[in-house]
Amino acid sequence: MKRILTSVLLLLAVSLVLKAQHISDLVLTEVVVDNENGLLDENGRHSPWVEITNSSQGSVSVGGCYLSDDPGDLKKFMVPKGDLKMKLGARQVMVLHPDFPLVKGSTLYLVSTDGKTIVDSIDIPSDLPVDRSVRKLAKDAKKVLFITEAEDAAPTPGKMNSDRQEESGAEKMARTDRYGGVLTLTSITVVFGALLILLIIFSITGGFFSGKFKRSKTPSDEEAAAIALALDMEQDGDIYAAIAAAVELYLSDSVHDVESYRLTIRQGEGSAWRDKRLTFRKLPK
């Protein structure tokens, strides 16, 4: 009972930690306070907006999180729950229009679903011009480390903020390695390298893994003869006959086993066809 309880508590703790880890991957990446000619909200109005980015490789739900600019009241605006649009895939971006006015010179907080844990924050400059945004740029494409830009910028709602253009591997190769020579040589080196390491490991350690270092006692000719004699006396001659018949059938191609190059001999149990006792229901003992 104690063990079950411990396991359940452990699982709960792990799941809570995992959940927290996921929400902690959310980043406030862009804010526009004075939106006069930019993005329209669902009511067709130019309202202030906040952009949230999922910096992880997994999906994260923003539903139930809070936005606030007041450290004393972190639950000012709750992101609607149960809306599929609130689920962000890997490196996806969403835009929200909070229902409280955004104030220049304040700090905007993104708060976890518990209403207490601050996941991320962004300082809104007091001199942020109209139709300009304060934003964080991903300086490291792999780790997606966002750093707030010193200068305000032209808003890019719904797009990943990065200091470099998103370029796929294929596009990069088309630009840098047009004829494929570099990739080919690199790849061949890596394939050979990987298998060479295996070769070295198993060449050097083969003797150790195979237990060669243990001194094994090989029987002498006399001992081998004695063992063979004992086996012959112990074993039924039928077994030898069965093996010989199976080998003969296999070599003459009359029978092909399930696996090629492997001979399997199963002990005959009699089939239900000729032995009706095998179809009887077994009584519990």
Binding site: A170, G180, G181, T184, S187, V190, A194, L195, L199
Partner: protein, 378 residues
């Protein structure tokens, strides 16, 4: 009466006869050809029969919008096709392959591992050629992997790099895998002398259970650390092998190597075949892919054979170059070709167990190559 005639006319519009075009008929004939080859010639029947039937299934002319086609979201065929499209099936097949593969030949003759690497030249040779023919790098990478002679790897990589070409790539890969004896034999004979074909190789030594258990762990750690992008394939391959060799998970190994791989092979064959709808498949690009696929097999075989000849320049214990072709990962077909061609020259020279070493090394090599292409071009 008029109403009945109207209904019949309306129904006619939904039939295959009303929607049929010559492209559908061509594809259906190709499907029938695949099935015939599988049944009559017994060329990879486990693959060619499902693929062939899938080709017929995917090319039954139909009225669009009934939500039954493989490319129509939410249809049954579309849901089954997601295993190919999203790349779920290939790692599951690799799990089964791992649970079926005996790496003893490789463990006992580590020096033959590198032949498995040399034969991957087919992949990169085809990649270079595809670039020359104007394919984008991601498409060229997906086409090149046909040279690995590994259907699941080809599907996995093309689903990630060039989903639109996947049908042609998969059919091409499986077709040439079925034709391994036909393609490889003349190349092997052309590149080797009679004297080389007579080289006898020692029988591989007995491999202990401990070695067999350690191999998948060491093999996985080595390859996965070098190419993490090959994780789905390499992980499943070595995991399946560990299930087999550990001796304590026999039930799991039996399931992976038996019912599970059978189910997935059926689904992958059928859906890959069905994805070759005439409007998407019958194009100049597909023909080019078939041509490049053939060349990649030729390059892979030649590279393996020539690599062995190269090694023989430096070693005292000569290797029979007839096992060079087995560096491609068509297990065990290419090893069988080595055996057959070897015994033709010398009936007592059995090369099968020696050829199995580069053959299984080729499986690892092609998965590593796929991982590299994915990390560069993905």
């Amino acid at each position: 009466m008029n109403q009945i005639i109207d209904s019949l006319q309306q129904f006619w519009q939904f039939t295959g006869f009303a929607n049929c075009c010559w492209q559908n008929l061509v594809m259906i004939l190709i499907g029938v050809f695949f099935i015939t080859m599988g049944i009559v010639k017994k060329w990879e029947p486990l693959l060619l029969v499902p693929i062939g039937f899938g080709i017929i299934l995917g090319n039954i002319p139909m009225f669009p919008g009934l939500n039954i086609g493989i490319y129509e979201d939410g249809s049954v065929m579309n849901i089954l096709y997601q295993g190919v499209r999203q790349g779920w099936y290939p790692p599951l097949i690799f799990l089964g392959i791992g649970a079926m593969t005996d790496f003893s030949a490789l463990i006992s003759q580590p020096r033959l591992i590198l032949i498995g690497a040399a034969a991957q030249m087919g992949i990169f040779g085809a990649y270079l050629l595809a670039l020359l023919f104007g394919f984008a790098p991601n498409e060229a990478g997906a086409i090149g992997i046909i040279g690995g002679a590994d259907g699941p790897t080809a599907i996995f990589l093309s689903s990630k790099l060039a989903p639109d070409l996947m049908g042609a790539i998969a059919v091409s890969a499986y077709s040439y895998m079925a034709l391994v004896p036909v393609i490889q034999r003349p190349i092997m004979l052309m590149l080797t002398t009679k004297k080389e074909r007579l080289i006898e190789m020692p029988k591989p030594r007995q491999v202990s259970q401990r070695e067999k258990i350690i191999f998948p762990i060491v093999g996985f750690l080595t390859t996965a650390f070098i190419v993490p992008s090959g994780l789905p394939l390499l992980g499943m391959l070595f995991f399946g092998n560990l299930l087999k060799e550990s001796g304590v998970t026999k039930r799991l190994a039996n399931t992976a190597a038996g019912p599970m791989i059978d189910v997935v092979t059926t689904l992958i064959g059928l859906t890959v075949g069905a994805s070759t709808q005439a409007d998407k498949f019958l194009s100049g690009k597909s023909l080019l892919i078939f041509g490049l696929g053939l060349l990649s097999f030729v390059i892979a075989t030649a590279s393996g054979v020539l690599f062995v000849k190269f090694i023989n320049l430096f070693t005292r214990h000569k290797i029979n170059p007839l096992i060079g072709n087995a560096g491609v990962s068509a297990v065990p077909d290419s090893a069988r070709v080595s055996e057959v061609v070897g015994t033709e020259s010398n009936p007592s020279n059995h090369l099968l167990m020696n050829a199995m070493a580069p053959n299984v090394a080729g499986v690892i090599g092609s998965a590593v190559a796929a991982g590299i292409l994915l990390s560069f071009l993905g």
